[in-house]
């Protein structure tokens, strides 16, 4: 975590490390969808951003979603714009993928696969975590 005194001194040009933590399946709750909306807004501010998909959150970026039959909107492909919005560091937790029988081939985004201990380390490096 950042030292409060350092933040005070750098006033205007604060750049923080912020990570979006996507933990939930795409349509069981609104979290992934409204989480995506937060990502797109925060991306407009020049911060050091990253995202990690873990637990059922890995389903949010699974290819071939078609939620029409449950009357829901398919927002999955919108995740593809993230790198263009400056969120280039996109991680997926290895264990979450494996436990669900998925591989990176099943995902609609280019991601870096990291194991649980690496996720922990990445989270510890952040100033802000946005859990959705």
């Amino acid at each position: 975590m950042a030292n409060p005194e350092e933040i005070e001194e750098s006033s205007d040009e604060i750049v923080k490390k912020m990570m979006f933590v996507m933990r939930k399946a795409p349509h069981g709750t609104i979290n992934p969808y409204e989480g995506l909306e937060v990502m797109l807004i925060v991306a407009a501010y020049d911060q050091d951003l990253s995202a990690v998909f873990l637990d059922d959150g890995v389903y949010a970026i699974k290819k071939g979603q078609d939620p029409k039959e449950i009357g829901a909107k398919d927002f999955s492909t919108t995740f593809r714009v993230l790198p263009g919005y400056g969120i280039e560091k996109i991680y997926v937790e290895k264990e979450s993928l494996e436990n669900r029988g998925l591989t990176v081939e099943d995902l609609l985004l280019e991601v870096e696969v990291v194991d649980k201990s690496e996720v922990t380390k990445l989270m510890q490096e952040q100033d802000v975590l946005f859990p959705f």
Binding site: M1, A2, P4, E5, I7, I14, K16, M18, T29, I30, N31, E34, E37, V38, I41, V42, A44, Y45, Q47, V128, L129, F130, P131, F132
Partner: protein, 123 residues
């Protein structure tokens, strides 16, 4: 006391169904009592329901929305309802508790940037 911190609070769950809002409220009170600053509270996801003026719980229970309203007015804490999340759930200017206001996700971003810690309460 030690270092004085600026806290931002993000609430993602509505009142009663989850304890998040009560915990966030208790956190805010405790932080203020310890001499810290609470720079703002941002209501998102179902958390926007913490700002509805339509709440009318039984008299022998706490009124979560009213507690937030009082805190905002008495301590001057900025409580912001996300406009997009609020519109989805029927939260508009006409049915907001006193002391809260509607604005955009940019406010959440500002809170995350300007505080020492952004503390999230939610499921």
């Amino acid at each position: 006391m030690g270092v004085k911190l600026k806290f931002g609070i993000l609430i993602l769950e509505g009142p009663y169904q989850h304890q998040s809002s009560d915990s966030a409220y208790n956190f805010a009170i405790a932080a203020l009592e310890k001499g810290h600053e609470v720079s703002g509270v941002f209501l998102y996801n179902d958390g926007v329901n913490n700002a509805t003026s339509f709440g009318d719980p039984p008299q022998d229970d706490r009124n979560v929305q009213e507690k937030w309203s009082k805190l905002a007015q008495e301590k001057g804490i900025d409580i912001v309802v996300c406009i997009a999340a609020g519109k989805r759930r029927g939260l508009i200017d006409d049915n907001l508790i006193k002391g809260t206001r509607i604005s955009g996700l940019g406010q959440l971003t500002d809170l995350a940037i300007s505080t020492d810690r952004l503390v999230t309460f939610g499921d």
